[in-house]
């Protein structure tokens, strides 16, 4: 059922947009045929299609990152943006943008630019991850760790503000626009590299299913079941770092998908068994992202809403519901 919803939403994302294009023409263009206007062809193939694919992949990537962090930290409020990993990636992106002259917009990057931004974002997010890891060995309480994550997020944000202070007005502008979040930041030329990176990360998460289930019992039990907890942890952090960094670099720091989707998935499935929960979370993540993207273009010809204005509207109520019903939800107990 989720798959049907996914396909439906994917098509909606291609057929709807701020420019009205007749459905018959859209269909023709998708089938490789001609359209009444050449500009329509461009809109569909170079804007809507990459945007829908990006949303599809980013949704999965963020949702599964959230799931991995929630299981690893045994904390159902963990996600890349709350723990400051997204802002770490933003910091990396900011530094790279500044080094490249501050005027480089993400959309106009060459392949080497793409790589530089990605590497910057990965290093930034891994930096935050290692700080988190350091603190997680000091404090056992997961709520404390969460708050430390939020503080790290604030610190990186303020460093980013300082960076902006030295940047050109143009650089700041492109940075602010980027910060609003959009799935439209990946051009069709960049799409293959972008997709490949995300898909490698997603395959990486599927390989974690077995140790993730063991980790539900806690680290000691997992060790006793033959899991090398240290390797698993590094592997989880590396995968989450790569996925978050890649999404953040191109789409901006997107909140709430990583936090809410694992909960939606657990609630719908009624299970925390990762053998089914993880694939389902990938799917639900894509559905949520496509839904949010669709909501962004709802104003029609009036323009496009920033993504980060939409995701909290869908995500925050889920979290509030989960928190209020904590005692009734089986996966909390």
């Amino acid at each position: 059922m989720m798959t049907t919803l996914l396909i439906l939403l994917f098509l909606c994302n291609i057929f709807c947009g701020s420019v009205d294009i007749p459905y018959s023409d859209t269909f023709n263009i998708l089938c490789g045929g001609d359209a009444a206007k050449e500009s329509w062809r461009f809109i569909i193939l170079d804007s809507r299609l990459p945007q829908a694919v990006t949303a599809l992949l980013c949704g999965s990537a963020l949702a599964v990152s959230g799931l991995l962090l929630q299981t690893y930290f045994n904390n159902y409020l963990a996600d890349p943006s709350i723990l400051g990993i997204s802002s770490g990636a933003s910091f990396g992106v900011g530094v790279v943008m500044l080094i490249l002259g501050g005027s480089v917009g993400i959309g106009s990057l060459s392949f080497s630019g793409f790589l530089a931004v990605l590497v910057g974002a990965v290093i930034g997010s891994l930096l935050v991850m290692s700080v988190l890891l350091f603190f997680s060995s000091l404090v056992k309480d997961s709520l404390t760790l969460l708050i430390i994550g939020i503080m790290i997020g604030y610190i990186t944000s303020s460093v980013i503000s300082l960076l902006n202070f030295f940047a050109t007005a143009e650089g700041v502008h492109s940075y602010v626009i980027w910060g609003l979040g959009t799935f439209g930041g990946v051009s069709s030329a960049q799409l293959p590299f972008f997709s490949a990176t995300i898909i490698i990360g997603l395959i990486g998460t599927v390989l974690l299913i077995k140790p993730l289930n063991a980790l539900l019992l806690g680290e000691r039990y997992a060790t006793n079941l033959g899991i090398n907890v240290r390797h698993t942890r590094n592997y989880i952090l590396l995968t989450v770092g790569l996925l978050t960094a890649c999404v953040t670099a191109f789409c901006g720091p997107i909140a709430f998908i990583g936090l809410a989707v694992p909960h939606i998935s657990r609630l719908l499935l009624g299970s925390s068994n990762h053998s089914i929960l993880l694939p389902f979370t990938l799917l639900t993540g894509s559905v949520m992202a496509l839904l949010c993207n669709l909501a962004c273009i709802l104003p029609g010809s009036g323009g496009v809403l920033p993504l980060n204005a939409v995701t909290p509207l869908l995500g925050a109520p889920v979290i509030i519901y989960v928190l209020i019903n904590q005692r009734k939800l089986q996966y909390f107990n």
């Binding site: 045994n74 390989l207 299913i209 077995k210 289930n213 063991a214 539900l216 019992l217 806690g218 000691r220 039990y221 060790t223 006793n224 079941l225 033959g226 899991i227 090398n228 657990r266 009624g270 299970s271 925390s272 068994n273 053998s275 939800l329 089986q330 996966y331 909390f332 107990n333």
Partner: protein
């Protein structure tokens, strides 16, 4: 022929590494675990029972000394290899509320399953019989969150059974159980040791039960570890060392515990 000593420790020193140096809890511990024996570890709170059990299960490193498992040094084992030799039931809080009884028990098969943890027919049969042996038949599909503390403990014991290890270590397996379950579980562990020829080491505060059912008794106090059969420890008046400074004594005629004041 199967060797009878499964594990032994020589000059073992247990405790914690900390920033200011090592915090030593016990030193010069010497003991062994043999096939077909149920061993009860007793001692007052804070004596270091959990630390000792975790050290034996390699969940925390010893400060010094040696442990040999199946005639090989513990240090030479990988996590994977050791998961075939030693299984544990801990007091750690697990986050398994969203898993069914069957799924949790099946986690015990992880050392044997492949990359994705898919269960073979043999794995499934083992899971079913383990669920049955702890008396949880009919609750296979129930979520862990719906179980009582005692039932959860039984599930964790079933998990350790399907791990098929010669050495079974349990930290206070009967702590949360009512009287009936406590006797059932202890009897079950006794049977596992004797019929399946494993070594079962458990910590408990239920000394009377331990005296009655154990093949070996380990008394851990701040003065160190004393081991022996219950009969020997009783006739040497060693049980009373557990109550040093307390108002309790062991009456070796009736095998009961009594207050000194009456």
């Amino acid at each position: 022929m199967a060797m009878s000593t499964l594990l032994f420790a020589k000059n073992l020193c247990i405790g914690y590494h900390s920033n200011g140096g090592n915090i030593q809890i016990h030193q010069d511990l010497n003991f062994s675990l043999r096939r077909g024996e149920l061993i009860s570890l007793c001692g007052p709170n804070g004596a270091g029972k959990s630390t000792l059990l975790r050290t034996i299960a390699n969940l925390q490193p010893p400060l010094s000394g040696e442990i040999e498992v199946l005639e090989k040094p513990m240090k030479s084992y990988s996590e994977k290899e050791l998961s075939h030799a030693i299984t544990v039931v801990l007091t750690d809080r697990a986050h398994t509320g969203g898993l069914t009884v069957k799924e949790v028990v099946a986690l015990g098969r992880q050392p044997y399953t492949g990359f994705f943890g898919r269960l073979s027919q043999e794995d499934k049969t083992l899971v079913d019989s383990a669920v049955e042996s702890v008396g949880m038949t009919g609750k296979e599909e129930v979520y862990m969150s719906e179980l009582s503390d005692g039932e959860r403990q039984k599930v964790m014991i079933a998990k350790s059974l399907v791990q098929e290890c010669p050495i079974v270590i349990l930290d206070e397996p009967t702590a949360f159980l009512d009287v009936a379950s406590r006797i059932e579980i202890t009897q079950l562990l006794h049977d596992i040791a004797h019929q399946q020829d494993r070594a079962v080491l458990l910590s408990t505060h239920d000394l009377e039960q331990a005296l009655r059912l154990s093949d070996q008794l380990w008394l851990l106090t701040k003065n160190g570890l004393q081991t022996g059969t219950p009969e020997d420890l009783v006739s040497n008046h060693q049980i009373d060392t557990l109550f040093e400074g307390r108002n309790v004594f062991f009456d070796d005629k009736t095998w009961t515990f009594r207050s000194k004041t009456r």
